[in-house]
Subunit: 154 residues, 2 copies
């Protein structure tokens, strides 16, 4: 899977980047591009992660989400440990090609290492604004989808 | 709207950040956090932008999306020029609190300055992979939702 022959296009000008029909992604100063994964069926936002060039190429070639772990500084085939692989149904790119959207079929019970289906399991609790010292959150998912201690056991 | 009294919580440890009930966002070295906007009704991913501390506080206080424009280096009340305001229905944060999800009611006909409803109007064309020099894209939205020349006219 290393050094897949897939090639990105060069970024020439605004017209080509925004209206063209070739993938010409912009990686940031750290060589990364944000990648947003949503559930293909429900539309639910599952997670936000990052890809480097090789992660994006492997994702396209493999049809499963491969990210770059900023904390571990290595390619991260999502689900390799937990079994919670993300089958990629569609890969989209935005207007200026500096963000990637993966529409995925999430295998297993969840995407988040904490145990929830989505990493976005908390919402700002507007009803409690001003009642606490800092901006309050409330649970948006009521129950964890799996037990991380079981899934990530050694 | 400047210097709203809303306060973020300090980031103490993994347990508090992941399981706590206070908003303790992590801004990157440039003082920014990615913010993903989806359509509240359809679930469609509309855009990915960035917020600094003040943009996030103003978004919470105002109930409309306020981003930070990296190109213009200023606060960006989305829709102030185009009328395409994003009414915020819910604000979520992810497990490690380094990404924001806005579920919005998109006013007007679209979120993207190019004229499409979503910024993610192109998808990797898997059927044409290997047929072109670089990774091919195809349109995922068939028609523009509005004419940018009319909406952004001087």
């Amino acid at each position: 899977m290393n050094n897949t022959p897939l090639q990105f296009a060069a970024r020439l000008d605004k017209q080509q980047v925004e209206q063209g029909n070739a993938l010409a992604p912009k990686f940031d100063d750290n060589g990364l591009i944000p990648a947003i994964a949503t559930d293909y069926a429900s539309g639910e936002l599952l997670m936000v992660a990052y890809m480097n060039e090789e992660a994006l190429k492997q994702t396209i070639a493999l049809g499963e989400a491969v990210y770059y772990s900023r904390s571990r500084q290595e390619l991260w085939h999502k689900g390799a440990t937990s079994g919670h692989v993300q089958k990629v149904i569609e890969i989209r790119v935005d207007c200026d090609q500096d963000a990637i959207w993966l529409r995925v079929d999430q295998q297993g019970s969840g995407a988040c290492h904490v145990g929830y289906r989505s990493c976005f399991y908390r919402a700002v609790d507007r009803d409690q604004l001003g009642q606490t010292d800092s901006i309050p959150l409330k649970l948006a998912e009521q129950e964890k989808a799996f037990d991380p201690a079981q899934v990530y056991r050694k």
